[in-house]
């Protein structure tokens, strides 16, 4: 267990971040003056309709995209590029087909200093166990179901022990039942591993099930509109009526910010 808590979760602060995308025909104002603080070990969901820039914001936090103005700080250090303390889990699992399951989980460990081959093997085993796939360590990616792929992607992101986990609609492509299982797993992992997690989703229910705080963004340009602290006890069940009522309120708020005539 010691290994799991070795690295403290980080605090992430987004300060006055703006982003434009310059296209041949138009300049799109993607994010307008976003400020947001995510505390150590907090689980925050960014919710908004498509086009609100939530994925761009996540990319900026990851260091994959540079903002046009403003800055992101991870533990008061400015983010200048991607770093192994802030790992991203993408919507498509983006697993490498030429590696087996264990090889994928091991991928990020090769670049970590001070690990022996034995350490790496142990870390891979621990993480496969964490996501319940220890029996599939030698399976190939195409042999896995969608849910299993996302589990491997989760294990791959967690194995290098990042301080922040950024999730970009990781469950959007899964069927409802599989997604529910993964909500339970993610909550369990978050409680044992105490990572700072930021998840981007368009589903208010998913956000309320997982997060301590739901941040609502509105489109064109992307702005932070409202924040909803979620105080429900964990583990949460997406079918809980109380949870559904909160999600309903968020969805209602979301509708107010969608420009009329443009479908969400």
């Amino acid at each position: 267990m010691d290994h799991y808590t070795a690295v403290a979760p980080a605090k992430l602060s987004v300060e006055n971040v703006s982003k434009w995308f310059r296209r041949a025909r138009a300049h799109v104002h993607a994010l307008a003056d976003i400020s947001l603080i995510v505390n150590e070990g907090e689980f925050v969901a960014l919710v908004g309709p498509s086009g609100c820039g939530k994925s761009t914001l996540l990319d900026i936090m990851a260091g994959l995209v540079t903002p046009d103005s403003g800055q992101v700080f991870a533990d008061s250090q400015p983010v200048r590029g991607p770093g192994r303390h802030r790992l991203v889990m993408f919507q498509e699992s983006a697993l490498f087909p030429w590696l087996d399951v264990a090889g994928n989980v091991r991928f990020g460990l090769k670049r970590l200093p001070g690990l022996t081959a034995h350490d790496r093997m142990r870390i891979v085993d621990e993480h496969l166990e964490l996501v319940g796939l220890e029996r599939f360590r030698n399976a190939y990616v195409h042999e896995l179901s969608g849910g299993m792929k996302q589990r491997v992607a989760l294990a791959r992101s967690l194995a290098p022990d990042p301080r922040v986990l950024l999730m970009d609609e990781p469950f959007a492509a899964l069927d409802a039942l599989t997604a529910e299982q993964l909500y339970a797993d993610v909550q369990r992992i978050w409680q044992t591993r105490r990572k700072t997690i930021i998840i981007v989703t368009h589903s208010a229910r998913e956000a309320v099930t997982l997060a301590d705080r739901v941040v609502l963004l509105s489109p064109s340009p992307g702005r932070v509109r409202e924040e909803f602290p979620i105080k429900l006890p964990r583990p949460r069940d997406i079918n809980d009526p109380e949870l559904a009522a909160i999600a309903q309120r968020i969805t209602a708020a979301l509708r107010r910010y969608i420009p009329s005539g443009i479908p969400a």
């Binding site: 770093g83 802030r86 991203v88 983006a94 030429w98 190939y140 990616v141």
Partner: protein, 255 residues
């Protein structure tokens, strides 16, 4: 085994039809020798070492030229995939050369290098390198961008990214490019050996050429069979393991 029996029957029937056509007397045995004669030639030329030494000469040229073609084509392909400038320049040249049948290099090679091994190698290299370059370029460009993003967030950059992500991700394209390069190299070498007599080595193409000169149809057909056999063996030895690896891992081409 169940698959092998009908396949063997098919080829046995083919040889039988050939035999019957040949003994029917409709065509001159000089133009259509019976399979038996071709087999005799293969046994004779096989036992006196003619075939073995010609095969060795040809394979040596082929492998060296092909290796040079890969050594040039692969790095250049990675370069053209990653730089618009090199794509527009080197990439365009490679594409242009691809449209040129490799036989067309023979006159130039002869004038530049004379009737030497270098001329042979040159033709093989020109045949192989373009398709390897283009396949590598296509492969590196066709990688889903998400792989590069994953690599970046995991701290894999530079050489590490190339060896652990870009190259394996483009494996399907690389293998088909290498295969095509091999086919082009093989074709260009045969053309070169048939057209050009050189004193430093007597390859399979030369055997074919002299078969024609001597109107020895058993030799012509026999050598053609050897050439086909080498092509098939090369495919099995050089490329099948990679293809099996890919099908197993990517889950493609199953069944």
């Amino acid at each position: 085994m169940k698959r092998a029996v009908p396949v063997l029957l098919f080829f046995a029937a083919l040889v039988l039809i050939w035999h019957l056509a040949s003994v029917s007397g409709r065509w001159s045995p000089v133009l259509l020798p019976p399979p038996r004669d071709v087999l005799d030639y293969l046994i004779d030329a096989g036992s006196d070492g003619t075939l073995a030494s010609a095969t060795l000469v040809t394979l040596k040229r082929l492998l060296i030229g092909y290796a040079i073609g890969i050594a040039l084509g692969m790095p250049l392909g990675l370069l053209t995939a990653n730089s618009r400038f090199f794509h527009d320049t080197i990439g365009a040249v490679a594409l242009g050369l691809q449209t040129l049948p490799s036989v067309c290099w023979i006159p130039l090679a002869l004038l530049w290098f004379g009737q030497t091994e270098s001329a042979m190698l040159f033709v093989v290299v020109m045949g192989a390198f373009g398709s390897v370059l283009i396949a590598t370029d296509t492969g590196a460009r066709s990688i889903p961008p998400i792989y590069a993003r994953v690599a970046r967030t995991m701290g894999s950059e530079g050489l590490d990214k190339w060896t652990r992500v870009i190259l394996p991700a483009s494996l399907p394209f690389l293998v088909s490019g290498l295969k095509q390069g091999w086919a082009f190299a093989w074709r260009s070498l045969m053309a070169a050996e048939i057209y050009v007599t050189i004193l430093t080595g007597f390859g399979l193409g030369h055997l074919l050429h002299y078969g024609r000169e001597l109107s020895a149809m058993d030799q012509v057909i026999g050598v053609m069979l050897v050439i086909v056999a080498i092509g098939l063996i090369a495919d099995k030895v050089l490329f099948s393991p990679w293809e099996r690896f890919m099908h197993r891992r990517w889950g493609t081409g199953l069944k």
